[in-house]
C-alpha cells in the first residue's frame, strides 16, 4: 500500500472492485465472515455497498483488524470511480433529518458533480473517518464544511491532472458534472473517471484535528453553489417507503441467537438468586447470563427469549433507602435538596450588574416558579443491536448515533484492542441524544463474547420507556424587576436540575450493563445547565443552575443523558414564560416587549445573533399576522377559548421564534395547538424542504413534551412503561397549519462566506413557552408546571375560578 498509513482497507477494496480487478465472486469468497447484506445494500442508491466488506485479516491467520481511517489522507474521504461517480465517506450518522443528503449536496457542489453522481457512506468505524457521529446539531455547521474542503481539494487535484494532460493552465479549463473541458475548445474533454477512476489520489491533507482538515484549495463562494439551496429529495426515503432499506434491526447472521433482559423490579435492587429451572423447558432455551445485577436470557428464537425473560424467576432484595422521591413530590424534593457544590458545568453561574440591588429598588417585582418533569427519549423502536464475535473480532450492528465512541467504549468494556472492534451504523429509530442504543450495543457485545455466537438484543417496550436515559427534571425560580415605565431592570434565574451522575455517551463505566455489574466512574458527572439563551439587554441579572441528587445515583432508571436539545426546552420554558409574565405586568404586547429588550443594546457578536434574533421575532409576528395587544386577550365565555403566544431563543448561532395558537376546552381541559409559526435563521440553508421537515418534527415533539410527556415514578420504580402510561402526541393533536419561515437575518446575507449553522434541534426549545404563553393569552391563567394534560389544565383553570 503506497501513500498514507491507513486508508481504510475497505476503500482500497472498493477501488479494486470498481476497477474490475476483483470480481464479486472473489469478493464473496474472501469475505468469510459475511454472507449476507450485499443485495440490501443497493436499496438506497446504486454503488452503495453493504455490510459484506471483509476485515483486513484473512481467514487463516491474524484476527480481523479494523484500523482507523487516516483523516489526513484524501482517499479516506472521497473515492472517484471509473464511471466518474464518487463515494463520500462521512463520519456522521443521519437520524432522519437529512444530513446525509445535505452533505452530499455540499460535497457535490464543491466537486462539480451532479447530485446523483455521488453516494454517501456514513458511520462505519472501519470505513469512515471519525467525525464523532451525530450530536449537537453540528453535522452541517461543522462536519459537512470539512467535507466541502475535501471535495474542493479533490476538484483542484483533478483540474491539475487535466491541465497536465491538455498542456493548458487550470484557468483555461472549466468543469461541469465531472467533465472537464477546455474553455477555448469545449469539444476537448476528459472525465473525472478517466483521470483517476478506480485509483487513489494519494494526496495528504493538513489540520491539527479532524475538524480542521483541509487541502490547499479554497471552497467556493456561496454565490457559486448550485445544489446548495435546492430541495433535493432525500436519498434515504424511497428505501424507507418500500421496505427495501436494511436497518440495524433487520440484520440476521447465520448462527445468530436472541437475548432479552430481566431488569431489577425496584430501582437499586440487589440480585439474590436466579431459579434457572423456571425456564429450562422453554423451547430453544440456551442460557441465563448474569453478573452482578445484570440478567439476560438467551434463546434460539426471538419469541422464545421474550417468553423466557417473562418466566424467569429471579429473587431481588429491595434497597434499604428509597432511591428517589415519588414523582408527585419531585419538585418539593428538588427545591429542598442541597445543591451539589461546583455542579452545573461551564456557565452555570453568571452575574451582571447588581441584580439584588435593582430588585430592591424596582417599581414592580414579579416572582414565579416553574417545574419541568423528567422526559424520555422513548424511541418508537426499542433499543437493539446485533454483535458478531467471530474470528477474535467484534462487529456491532447498531443505530447508535455515535458509532466511534460506541466502538472505543465497547473495546474498553470488553478489554479488547479497539482495532479488533468495529461498529456498523445503520438506520434505526430516532437518535435524539443519548438513547439506550448505547446500552444495547454493549449488552449485545458482552453476550456475544459469552456465547461465542452472534447475539441480537432488543429491549422490550417497558424497558425502553422505564430504563432509557432521561432528560433531566428542572425546578426553576425566577424574580424580575420592572421600573415605573415597564422596563426590565433586573432578572434573577435560579435553576435546579436533577442531573447528577449524567451518563455521557458510550462510557464503559456508565452504560447500564456496567452500572448493573457494579462498575462506577471514578467521579460521577455532576451534570448541569446554563440558563436560557437569549440576547435580551437586561442591565442587572443573575443566572445560576446547580444539580441536585437523589439517594440512588447509579443503577437507576432515572439516570440522565442528553435528550434532544438537552435542557433547552426546559430552561426556555421558564425563561420565556417569565418574560411573558413581565410583559403582562408591564401591560405590554409580548412581541413588542421582546423587541424592546433585544434593541436595548446596540452591539452584536460575530454571528450577528442580536440582529438575527430581532429578525426572527419580527418575521414570526408578520407571518402569523400578530395584532399588537397585551396578554391576556379578552377571555370569552364560550367553552373553547383561543389565544396566541410567542417565545424566542437562540441555540449556538441559530435563532428561532415560535408562535403558537391554541384552543383550550374548558370543559375537558384539552389544549389543541391549532396553528404554529416558526421563524428560523440558521444562516445558509442547504436543503429547504429537508430543513422544514426537521423543524416541523421539532415543533411537534415540543408540543408533545409540553402537553403530554412526563416520566412518572413511585418511590421505588418508574411507572411509565408503555404508551398508555407515557402518552405522546398523536395524529389527533397535530396542528392544522404549520408555517415555517426561513429567515436570514445576517446584516449582509450576500457575503461569500455565509455559513450554515446547526438546525437539528434549535426550533425545539421555544415550543413549551410559546404554548404556555398562548394558554395564558386565552385564559389569563399561567401554566408553570409541565405537562399540560387535561387534568392539570382543569385543575389550574378551576383554581383561577374559570
Amino acid at each position: 500500500m503506497s501513500g498514507g498509513r491507513s486508508v481504510p482497507k475497505a476503500v482500497n477494496d472498493a477501488l479494486a472492485r470498481w476497477g474490475g480487478t476483483t470480481s464479486r465472486r472473489d469478493f464473496l469468497k474472501t469475505s468469510g465472515l459475511f454472507v449476507f447484506g450485499l443485495s440490501g445494500a443497493g436499496a438506497v442508491g446504486a454503488g452503495r455497498w453493504g455490510y459484506g466488506t471483509e476485515p483486513s485479516g484473512d481467514e487463516s491467520s491474524e484476527p480481523a483488524s479494523y484500523p482507523d481511517p487516516d483523516f489526513l489522507q484524501l482517499d479516506s474521504w472521497l473515492v472517484v470511480h471509473e464511471d466518474g461517480s464518487a463515494t463520500f465517506y462521512v463520519g456522521k450518522t443521519d437520524g432522519g433529518q437529512g444530513t446525509g443528503t445535505a452533505t452530499q449536496q455540499m460535497m457535490c457542489d464543491e466537486l462539480d458533480l451532479a447530485f446523483d453522481q455521488a453516494t454517501v457512506v456514513m458511520g462505519r468505524t472501519d470505513m469512515t473517518v471519525d467525525q464523532g457521529g451525530s450530536g449537537g446539531s453540528d453535522a452541517i455547521e461543522r462536519d459537512a464544511m470539512v467535507g466541502r474542503r475535501i471535495a474542493a481539494e479533490a476538484r483542484r487535484v483533478l483540474l491539475e491532472m487535466a491541465s497536465e494532460r491538455f498542456g493548458v493552465p487550470v484557468e483555461g479549463l472549466s468543469v461541469s458534472e465531472g467533465v472537464i473541458s477546455l474553455r477555448d475548445d469545449p469539444g476537448r474533454t476528459v472525465t473525472y473517471g478517466e483521470l483517476i477512476g478506480g485509483r487513489r489520489f494519494d494526496v495528504a491533507l493538513t489540520g491539527g484535528n479532524i475538524n480542521a482538515t483541509t487541502g490547499v484549495a479554497s471552497i467556493k463562494p456561496v454565490q457559486d453553489l448550485k445544489l446548495v439551496g435546492q430541495s433535493i429529495p432525500r436519498y434515504d426515503i424511497p428505501g424507507k417507503v418500500d421496505a427495501s432499506l436494511e436497518w440495524a434491526v433487520d440484520v440476521r447472521l447465520p448462527g445468530m441467537v436472541h437475548a432479552r433482559h430481566v431488569r431489577p423490579p425496584f430501582a437499586g435492587a440487589t440480585l439474590v438468586g436466579i431459579d434457572e429451572s423456571s425456564v429450562r423447558d422453554v423451547p430453544g432455551f440456551i442460557r441465563v447470563v448474569s453478573e452482578g445485577n445484570y440478567v439476560a436470557v438467551v434463546c434460539e428464537r426471538e419469541e422464545q427469549a421474550i417468553e423466557a425473560a417473562e418466566r424467569l424467576v429471579v429473587e431481588w432484595e429491595k434497597p434499604a433507602t428509597a432511591p428517589f422521591p415519588a414523582s408527585d413530590h419531585l419538585f418539593d424534593y428538588m427545591r429542598g435538596a442541597e445543591r451539589v457544590p461546583g455542579s452545573g458545568g461551564r456557565g452555570a453561574a453568571q452575574t451582571q450588574g447588581d441584580p439584588d440591588g435593582a430588585l430592591a429598588s424596582a417599581a414592580t417585582v414579579v416572582e414565579a416558579a416553574y417545574d419541568i418533569p423528567f422526559h424520555g427519549h422513548t424511541a418508537i423502536g426499542p433499543a437493539h443491536a446485533l454483535a458478531d464475535p467471530s474470528d477474535g473480532q467484534m462487529t456491532i450492528y447498531t443505530n447508535d448515533m455515535k458509532p466511534y465512541s460506541h466502538r472505543t467504549g465497547i473495546a474498553e468494556f470488553l478489554g479488547m484492542d479497539p482495532e479488533q472492534v468495529r461498529v456498523i451504523w445503520m438506520e434505526g429509530p430516532q437518535l435524539y441524544g443519548r438513547t439506550a442504543a448505547d446500552d444495547a450495543g454493549f449488552e449485545a457485545a458482552y453476550l456475544a463474547r459469552e456465547l461465542g455466537r452472534p447475539v441480537r438484543v432488543q429491549w422490550m417496550r417497558h424497558e425502553e420507556t422505564a430504563w432509557d436515559t432521561k432528560g433531566p427534571a428542572f425546578a426553576i425560580d425566577l424574580r424580575g424587576g420592572l421600573d415605573a415605565d415597564g422596563n426590565v431592570v433586573a432578572l434573577d434565574y435560579q435553576g435546579r436540575i436533577a442531573n447528577y451522575a449524567h451518563v455521557g455517551y458510550n462510557q464503559a463505566r456508565t452504560v447500564l450493563i456496567a452500572q448493573l455489574m457494579g462498575f462506577r466512574p471514578e467521579r460521577p458527572s455532576p451534570g448541569g445547565a446554563r440558563g436560557p439563551d437569549e440576547m435580551y439587554y437586561i442591565p442587572n441579572r443573575r443566572q445560576e443552575t446547580r444539580a441536585v441528587r437523589f439517594p440512588l445515583a447509579f443503577e437507576t432508571p432515572l439516570r440522565t443523558g442528553n435528550l434532544r436539545d438537552p435542557n433547552g426546552p426546559q430552561t426556555t420554558f421558564a425563561g420565556e414564560s417569565f418574560i411573558d409574565e413581565l410583559a403582562a405586568a408591564a401591560g405590554a404586547d409580548p412581541v413588542e416587549f421582546r423587541l424592546r429588550l433585544l434593541r436595548g443594546a446596540t452591539d452584536d457578536d460575530e454571528a450577528f445573533r442580536r440582529a438575527r434574533s430581532i429578525a426572527v421575532v419580527e418575521a414570526a409576528a408578520e407571518a402569523y399576522g400578530w395584532d399588537a395587544r397585551p396578554s391576556p386577550g379578552t377571555v370569552g365565555s364560550g367553552r373553547v377559548l383561543t389565544g396566541r403566544g410567542i417565545a424566542y431563543a437562540y441555540r449556538a448561532r441559530t435563532t428561532i421564534a415560535v408562535i403558537a395558537e391554541v384552543e383550550v376546552d374548558r370543559e375537558t381541559g384539552r389544549v389543541w395547538v391549532r396553528r404554529m409559526v416558526c421563524a428560523h435563521d440558521c444562516g445558509l440553508v442547504i436543503n429547504p424542504d429537508s430543513l422544514e421537515s426537521t423543524i416541523q418534527g421539532n415543533l411537534l415533539h415540543g408540543i408533545s413534551r409540553t402537553l403530554y410527556e412526563e416520566v412518572r415514578f413511585d418511590g421505588e420504580k418508574v411507572t411509565s412503561v408503555d404508551w398508555r402510561t407515557h402518552p405522546t402526541l398523536t395524529h389527533m393533536d397535530t396542528p392544522e397549519r404549520i408555517d415555517v419561515v426561513m429567515v436570514n437575518g445576517d446584516p449582509n446575507p450576500d457575503r461569500p462566506d455565509l455559513r450554515p449553522y446547526g438546525a437539528g434541534e434549535p426550533s425545539h426549545r421555544p415550543v413549551p413557552a410559546a404554548v404556555a404563553n398562548a394558554i395564558y393569552d386565552a385564559t389569563g391563567v399561567r401554566m408553570r408546571r409541565l405537562p399540560l394534560r387535561p387534568e392539570r389544565v382543569l385543575e389550574e383553570l378551576g383554581a383561577a375560578g374559570l
Partner: protein
C-alpha cells in the same frame, strides 16, 4: 411446534412454529420481511401493522394460528412493480424522518383509503390516530394521505 400455513404477499408458506408465536416474529425472522417492526408488543403503537384481508391489524400480539387471512406487508403493497399511490405520496411529500413507524402509517393509510376514498381532515386524523410517530411526522403524513386520495381518484377517472 406445529405446522402453520400462512398466505403472505400472494404466496403460501408452510412453517413449523409454535402456534402461539406472534405473527410479527414469523414475518420478520422466518420469512425475512422488513416492513413490520417491533415497537411495543402491546398493539399500542402500530409499528408492526400488516394488512389482513385488507384490514390494518397489529401483528405483534396476534398469534400466528389466528393469522389465517390474506396478509399483505409493506413489501407486498406495490402492484405490477409500481408503488402504491400511498407510497408514492409518501415520497412526494418527503414524509419519513427516521422512518421506523412509517410501515404502520402507510399500511393504515392504504386501508383507510380503501374504505374511505376521500376522507375529510377529521376522518384522516381519526383513521390514523392510533399509529404513533416519535419523529412527529404527522403533519406531512396527513398531507400525504390527502395527496394519495387525490391520486387514487384521478387514477379511477382515467
Amino acid at each position: 411446534m406445529s405446522e402453520i400455513t400462512l398466505r403472505v404477499n400472494g404466496e403460501t408458506h408452510t412453517l413449523d412454529v409454535d402456534p402461539s408465536t406472534p405473527l410479527l416474529y414469523v414475518l420478520r425472522n422466518d420469512l425475512g420481511l422488513r416492513g413490520p417492526r417491533f415497537g411495543c408488543g402491546l398493539a399500542q403503537c402500530g409499528t408492526c401493522t400488516v394488512l389482513m384481508d385488507g384490514r390494518a391489524i397489529r401483528s405483534c400480539n396476534r398469534p400466528v394460528s389466528r393469522s389465517t387471512g390474506e396478509i399483505t406487508t409493506l413489501e407486498g403493497l406495490p402492484e405490477d412493480g409500481e408503488l402504491h399511490p400511498v407510497q408514492q405520496a409518501w415520497i412526494d411529500e418527503q414524509v419519513p424522518q427516521c422512518g421506523y413507524c412509517q410501515n404502520g402509517q402507510i399500511l393504515t393509510a392504504a386501508a383507510l383509503l380503501s374504505y374511505s376514498p376521500s376522507p375529510s381532515d377529521d376522518e384522516i386524523r381519526e383513521g390514523m390516530n392510533r399509529v404513533l410517530c416519535r419523529c412527529m411526522t404527522y403533519y406531512r403524513i396527513q398531507s400525504a394521505v390527502k395527496r394519495a386520495a387525490e391520486a387514487m381518484a384521478e387514477g379511477e377517472d382515467r
